[in-house]
Amino acid sequence: MKLLEMADNMIKTREFREHNYKAVWFNGKTIRMTIDPKREISELEYPEFYDIKITGYCQGYCPWCYMNSSKEDYHYEDIIDKVKDYFGPMSSNERPFQVAIGGGEPTAHPQFIDLLSAFKELGIEPNYTTNGMFDDRKILEASKEFCGGVAVSCHPHLKLYWEKVAEKYLSESIKLNFHIIISDVESVDYFTMIYNKWKDKIDYFVLLPYTAQGRAAEKDIDWKYLVDKLPKNTQKIAFGAGFYPYLLRKDHDIQVSLYEPEIMSKFLDLKDMQLYPSSFDLTPIIKEIKCR
């Protein structure tokens, strides 16, 4: 059976025995397995996916932006070369299955489409998040050609933009997630309203806990109210890593597989090629990529 050639772009596997980890990727899904089920998977030297920041520019002006993005910030230069130089020397086992491209507003970057194509050439599935304000036919077509999925940030003050763009992505059969920031009762009610309207069309509603970083002021998260209001069937719900401590509690019956956040992923800022645990933990990681 000459499966390798056929399977290469359809099913990928990675294995790091020293971390008790193996994983299979197919159709955008990743199934992770332990080699020894009695031990946990330890932090991967080569992450399974990266969050990639390509710009600080954004026209959304969300008051809760934890990245402090604005129109006054700028797009990073030479992003294609940077990506090729960083991921190119990695073996197929070391390369991530997928990346989540963000910013700022990544679709506003003039090299955005070339970047999607570059990742695809490297055998890495690019995904991204958009606020929907940079509506462009070419980006839609490139997303269909290169991306595993796209997320739309459902900010209340940008509703006119993201609803329009979401419909366009759906009409092109692009896998679509919604990102919704959760904090107080009002935000949970907003999520419920969006869920009820879009639940039959959207793949996942990714609930992200409000993070007091950047220009976002302190705010509490009403976890109890969220648990009360979650749909009975939670199969279309996913949680951002910040919900990890809440999910550890035993005051809910949401079925999730919990593991230490960020052991599988890292945040790479293309501005200076600095690696961090995540965009919420900006402690620089010193990492040497082995030359071949």
Binding site: M1, K2, L3, L4, A7, M10, I11, T13, E15, Y21, K22, F26, N27, G28, K29, T30, I31, R32, M33, T34, D36, P37, K38, F49, D51, S92, N93, Q98, A100, E125, N127, T129, G148, G149, V150, N177, H179, D203, Y204, T234, Q235, I237, A238, G240, A241, G242, F243, Y244, I254, Q255, V256, S257, P261, E262, M264, S265, F267, S278, S279, F280
Partner: protein, 161 residues
């Protein structure tokens, strides 16, 4: 029987950090994956036509220790034909039970479900794995190759196959 120790399952990552996806037990996703491999190799049959898939505790000790407690407590649920002595015989008994459940010859006994959901002193339930059994002997080689493929990042089993 073939075993997959599923740790977690995630869908497309669009977020700026880890995303914790809700999921049941991985059976649906494992079936999708096996179906994908079948499609690639041109096998026209469905996963369910060829294999039985179920979820059990990864370690047979979860069951044998639970049964020991039932014996000590004189519980009625204790299965009559369970070998009281000999860990090897007890392990074989559990393996045979798993096979028979997968083949749908018997229903999963209540005590097995109880053993799987029993919390340890840290409040964690037993690690579980997916077990896959070919419905027909002739598909054993196929599942062996599929498992080799999944177990190797370099797909060696299929290169030479």
């Amino acid at each position: 029987m073939f075993k997959l120790n599923i740790h977690s399952i995630v869908d497309v990552i669009t977020n700026s950090s880890t995303v914790i996806y809700t999921y049941q037990n991985g059976v649906k996703e494992a079936k999708e994956l096996l179906q994908e491999i079948l499609n690639i190799i041109g096998e026209k049959k469905e996963v369910d036509d060829l294999f039985s898939i179920g979820v059990f505790a990864s370690d047979n000790d979860i069951y044998t220790e639970y049964l020991s407690e039932l014996v000590e407590d004189g519980d009625d649920e204790y299965p009559d034909n369970y070998p009281v002595d000999g860990w090897e015989a007890q392990g074989e008994y559990i393996d045979e039970l798993k096979e028979n459940i997968l083949k749908k010859e018997i229903k999963k006994p209540k005590w097995m479900e109880e053993a799987e959901s029993k919390e340890d002193y840290n409040g964690y339930t037993a690690e579980t794995s997916l077990y896959i059994s070919p419905k027909d002997e002739k598909h054993t080689l196929l599942i062996e190759k599929m498992m080799s493929f999944l177990n190797s990042p370099y797909h060696e089993a299929f290169r030479d196959g």
